[in-house]
């Protein structure tokens, strides 16, 4: 076990209760395959340079200031400390403003998760809050200055501890209503819906992150190898799109593929080795026995 250092230490306040707590990064990004940008002409690496758009001369770090465009080509200049001054002084306190029923929380606002654990002195208060929230089925909304930024944080019970998820601000999340504005308002019913539900039933399984393997790097290595050998990989063809006229037929055939004998299903599983790795379908007889004509419950 790695010695764990807190990313933030402070106090968690609810009502008149205060308990010393610490935040720890709960998730980190593992490395992805790196490409470098090259100059095609010379094959050399390129580097980034910051230049004055008018004079074309490089501008050193110290000469770079922030400007807010108020008018085409006119800026209000703000120094770093002026921007920092807009952030309130850190009081090292996660003060709970409100509790929200877990079922109402819109997860699209989620940013990064942190584990929140108490100091020894704060253990009793921490456990009270954790178990109280769990019993009530709520999460807490708190505000604090984290890493020099004012953040809204969502706290919820997780195992023995709490998870604190930073939330994006309202203006950072696009409205899904607007995003889907142009999608036609089709209500699917009858046989089509029943067939699709049946297919879903036959593909029921669970998500296992630990079993997941990223095949992208291997695929790029293969691409590089092919290129070195002077081969080119076959061009991918666009998959045939299900037109409205043959959608019902495609659903029937899909449902037929999935229809039940265990032998048939095993065959299907073999066809998708990666599927077996990504998620293990639960071999539930009850689910696969459902007839394609089953009604939605």
């Amino acid at each position: 076990m790695v010695a764990t250092r807190a990313n933030w230490k402070g106090f968690l306040n609810f009502g008149e209760v205060s308990c010393p707590v610490a935040l720890y990064t709960a998730a980190s990004s593992s490395e992805r395959i790196a490409f470098n940008t090259l100059n095609r002409e010379t094959g050399n690496r390129v580097r980034r340079e910051f230049v004055d758009v008018e004079t074309g001369r490089p501008v050193g770090r110290g000469d770079q200031v922030k400007g807010y465009e108020i008018d085409d080509g006119r800026y209000v200049v703000l120094e770093t400390d002026e921007i920092a001054a807009a952030v309130p002084e850190s009081d090292k306190t996660l003060a709970i403003d409100a509790f929200v029923p877990c079922s109402e929380i819109d997860d699209v606002y989620f940013d990064k998760p942190y584990y929140l654990a108490p100091d020894r002195m704060g253990r009793d208060a921490f456990i009270l809050l954790r178990d109280g929230m769990r019993k009530e089925g709520v999460a807490a909304i708190a505000r604090t200055v984290l890493f020099r930024k004012l953040r809204t944080v969502l706290l919820r019970a997780h195992g023995k501890g709490l998870i604190a998820t930073t939330l994006n601000f309202d203006y950072e999340v696009r409205s899904s209503k607007q995003a889907f504005e142009e999608v036609s308002d089709l209500k699917i019913e009858g046989e089509m819906l029943e067939l699709a539900e049946h297919i879903i039933g036959t593909k029921r399984g669970s998500f296992d992150a630990k079993a997941f393997d990223d095949r992208y790097e291997a695929a790029v290595a293969e691409l590089v190898k092919a290129k070195l050998e002077g081969r080119s990989l076959p061009k991918k063809k666009a998959p045939p799109v299900s037109k409205q006229s043959d959608l019902l037929q495609a659903l029937r055939e899909s449902a037929g593929l999935a229809v039940g004998t265990p032998a048939r299903r095993a065959g299907n599983t073999n066809a998708g080795r990666e599927r077996a790795k990504l998620a293990k379908p639960t071999p539930s007889k009850a689910k696969s026995a459902a007839a394609p004509t089953r009604r939605a419950s």
Binding site: F35, N36, V46, T55, E136, E197, F207, L228
Partner: protein, 270 residues
């Protein structure tokens, strides 16, 4: 969708396939954005690529990706070659499994995207997949290559579309035990817990996006507005003369509107 799609491809369930497009559910566009200026000239500072050996600027057309084989040894990969990498999941979201939504803990959620049909021809197929998931109260699990990773993704119906979440890998989520084990197995004191629950109930409210407003952004806009006033008093302008200086000034109008909105929000809150 007015916004340029971030990704285009296909959504597939067994033999049903439809063209789809995707865009991030989050955006920086409404944030108070600063540009970098040269303090001396007050001109914008832009970044450009220069050749690391010759020091000469590199045209955008000449920028190409390189895969490093060894010290200073690169294989050039063109964009269309990279797109052609032998993985179906670069272009097709093939739903392999369905699971109850609550079986996937929030901690696995990485980045949300909005997924919508990309062509009227596929709208019905898209709607079938969406509505069946909704009727069964299930989310779909698939693979997708996104920013050079092949990730598990979760598809969840929302309004007329689907939210696609990239999920974290197993090794990206740290083992909680090392952080939580010191808490011990203690349970809350049964005599105090009802009080805590009472306090919680008193403070429980319905979720609203108001809970994620940003007072700092409002404050920054105030600072900017104050500085702008000063600027006007001091100099007529050192800025570049525009061809139509009398044209209505959108930026200023938006600023006024923003300030009015901020003030209105404040009043509403009180």
């Amino acid at each position: 969708m007015a916004i340029r799609p971030y990704w285009k491809g296909y959504l597939k369930l067994s033999l049903v396939t439809c063209p789809v497009q995707m865009m991030p559910a989050t955006s920086e566009s409404e944030k108070v954005r600063f540009h970098t200026l040269n303090r001396e000239t007050q001109n914008r500072v832009v970044s450009r690529y220069v050749d690391s050996v010759t020091g000469k600027p590199v045209n955008e057309d000449d920028e190409v990706k390189g895969y490093q084989r060894g010290e200073g040894d690169y294989i050039i990969l063109e964009d269309d070659e990279i797109e052609n990498v032998a993985l179906e999941s670069t272009r097709t979201i093939d739903i392999s499994t369905f699971a109850p939504r609550d079986s996937i803990d929030w901690i696995w959620l990485e980045t949300p995207y909005y997924l919508a049909p990309n062509d009227p021809v596929g709208e019905e197929a898209f709607s079938v997949i969406r509505d069946a998931m909704r009727a069964k109260d299930m989310v779909g699990i698939a693979r997708l290559v996104i920013s050079r990773r092949e990730r598990p993704v979760m598809l969840e119906p929302r309004d007329k579309g689907i939210v696609l979440w990239t999920l974290r890998y197993g090794d990206e989520v740290r083992e909680e035990d090392s952080y939580f084990e010191a808490i011990g197995d203690g349970k809350a004191d049964e005599t105090i817990l009802p009080l805590v629950q009472q306090l919680i109930r008193k403070q429980t409210a319905h979720w609203t996006p108001k809970m994620v407003e940003d007072p700092v952004q409002e404050r920054l806009l105030e600072v900017i507005a104050a500085k702008k006033k000063q600027l006007k008093k001091l100099t007529p302008t050192k800025a570049k003369a525009r061809a139509t200086p009398s044209a209505p000034n959108n930026v200023v109008n938006i600023m006024d509107a923003l300030k009015r909105s901020v003030a209105a929000e404040r009043r509403a809150k009180k």
